[in-house]
Every structure is written in C-alpha cells, then in structure tokens.
Symmetry: C2
Subunit: 183 residues, 2 copies
C-alpha cells in the first residue's frame, strides 16, 4: 500500500537547485510569491522555501496542499520538509548540512513540532499567526515558550521579514472566500 502526495506542476517548477538566493528578504519574497500562486491555483494561502544556510542554494519549496490532496497535514512547511528529505534521502536535514526554512506565515503548532524533528537550523516567517487566526485558521497551541524550546535546541528563529507583503496574501484569500480547512 502506498500513500501518494501529488505536488502540482506549478509548484514543482519552483524547485530549482541551480537557483541561489542571497538575502532573507529575497528568500521570503519567494515564499510569499508561492503563497500567492497557491491561492491562484485553489490552494491555501501559504508558501515555504528551504535554502542552504551557507550557500543560499534553493533546496525545496512548499505550498499548502491540504484541500488538493485531502490530507490535513500538508501545510506548506510540511510539504517543503518532505520534498527536501526525499531529495536528500535523509529524515534529518541536519545530517546533510545547515538548512533554513522561510515560511510566509508563522508556523502552526503542528509545523512547529515538525520543524524540531526535521533537522532545520533556522526558521524565518513573514506574517504573525494572529493574522492567520483572524482570517479563520485555528493555528493551535503555540506559546512563547514553545519557540523558546526550539531556540534551546539550537534553532534560530526570526519573525516579521516582509510582514506587510506576507499579510496581503492572507487578506486576499479572505476576500476571495478561500476554503478555511479547519476540521
């Protein structure tokens, strides 16, 4: 028996190992661009990017594919982590180098936990979770001490990069009455 996750062509086209991104802003703008494309393609308003922390090389991209695949776990961060681990052939990105995750929105409770297991060394987000909560998504129990726990494990946490641009997608999604895929 196999469970198959379909990665749409539009998302796959973003995964280009020859592409190098330099600044936090540039990496975040790519995650936000993917979030926008996801809305256009009927998906959730979230995008994520994984890059090599030292070289800036693009490893993986993710978008919210919950509705498309009928799997509640397929948040943008989880999709990016799954693709990255399959490409590297390892359940721990930490064993393959130092990688950083850029997410258009603050990771939810599930994704926060998933980041810890994934071996990602640095997490950067744009919009705070309050905005996702305000448009209707139940982001779950995330507390200041939850992020402190990750920091205590050596993971760097950065928030608010290109926040305004990141929030715009969330408001656009609400305007268009996008699916709120709470249970």
């Amino acid at each position: 028996m196999k469970i198959t996750v379909d990665i749409p062509d539009w998302l796959e086209k973003y995964i280009n190992p020859d592409r190098t991104l330099s600044s936090d802003e540039e990496k975040m703008l790519l995650a936000i661009e993917i979030a926008g494309k996801s809305i256009e393609n009927g998906g959730g308003p979230f995008g994520a990017v994984i890059t090599n922390r030292k070289t800036g090389e693009l490893l993986s991209c993710g978008a919210n594919l919950v509705v498309k695949n009928n799997l509640s776990i397929l948040h943008a961060e989880i999709v990016a982590i799954m693709i990255a681990q399959k490409l590297l052939g390892s359940y721990s990105l930490a064993r393959a180098g130092e990688f950083e995750l850029f997410s258009s929105s603050e990771p939810c409770a599930m994704c926060l936990g998933a980041i810890l297991w994934s071996g990602i060394k640095r997490v950067v987000w744009g919009a705070p979770s309050e905005v996702a909560r305000n448009i209707g998504f139940d982001e779950g129990p995330v507390y200041e001490q939850s992020w402190s726990y990750l920091k205590s494990k050596g993971i760097e946490i950065v928030s608010g990069i290109k926040q305004k641009e990141a929030e715009e997608n969330l408001y656009l999604y609400k305007q268009r009455n996008g699916a709120i895929y709470n249970p």
Copy 2:
C-alpha cells in the same frame, strides 16, 4: 512530481474494516501490539489505531515509519491519520463521523498539532511522554495548556490506558539499541 509513503505489508494487514473493537483497553492493546511489531520490523517503537467512536469499527492503523521512508513526519499518529483521510477521501475526519485515536505513547508536539487539524474527536494514550524522552526521543514543547487547548476545542483526552504494557515496548527498544531518529 509525487511523494510516496510506503506502508509495509505487515502494517497494512492490520487495517481491517470488518474488525470491531469494544473497550478502550482492547483498542490500546492493538496499538501496543502494532508498536511491538514495528520494533520487530526495524521501525520506531510506536503504534496507533483510529476507530469509530460510536461503533468501534477499525478505520486505520499507523506505526512509526520515519527511518523506513526517510521522512521525519511519519510518526505512528500521522501515518494513521493519513491512511484514514485517504480511505475517507476527506481532510477532516470530523466531516465523516466521530473518530478516536489510540496511541501507544503520548503524542509529541507535532502530533498534538496534527490531531487538532485532523478532525479527531478523542485521543487516548498509554505511556506518558516522559518515558519516550527518557529513552532518548525529543518530544518537543508539549505543556499542560497545550492539551487544555485541544480540550477547549471539544477533543476528549484520556491518558494512561494499559500504561505498563505500553512502556514495556519503549524499554525493549532501548535495550535493543533501536535508532533514536532525532535530527
């Protein structure tokens, strides 16, 4: 592009829609049996079962497949949720009925968040997370208020069913020097 999760035959054989389980103890013993089989088959020492809360019918089973599939998200609970959602064709189990998750160990931070999104209405575990932490697994930031959050969303939480039997698998795994798949 597709990401494929292989469900091993030994696990698939447990997924029997004609099987009905009656008590919490019986359901938990099945989750614990799966955890034991997982150890025998070189997987992580965790098992999970999803049943219909009203009828006791078995919907789905999961085991820890992190190492086998090289995907850090594949905890037993996540595997059981993915199989259940694929079988029902819905990203929300709540839209298909009332379902309960039995996990041999207390869910980690990631799985706690995943339960909230999945539409599961009742969670029961055997061993407390302290035991998994003691044998080396980093279960992440889970606080009393994290479970209270789920309760406030209408999810029933029950702990310590067949705890001794559940813990035995974890100690057996440590004795056998099973892989500790932290990043």
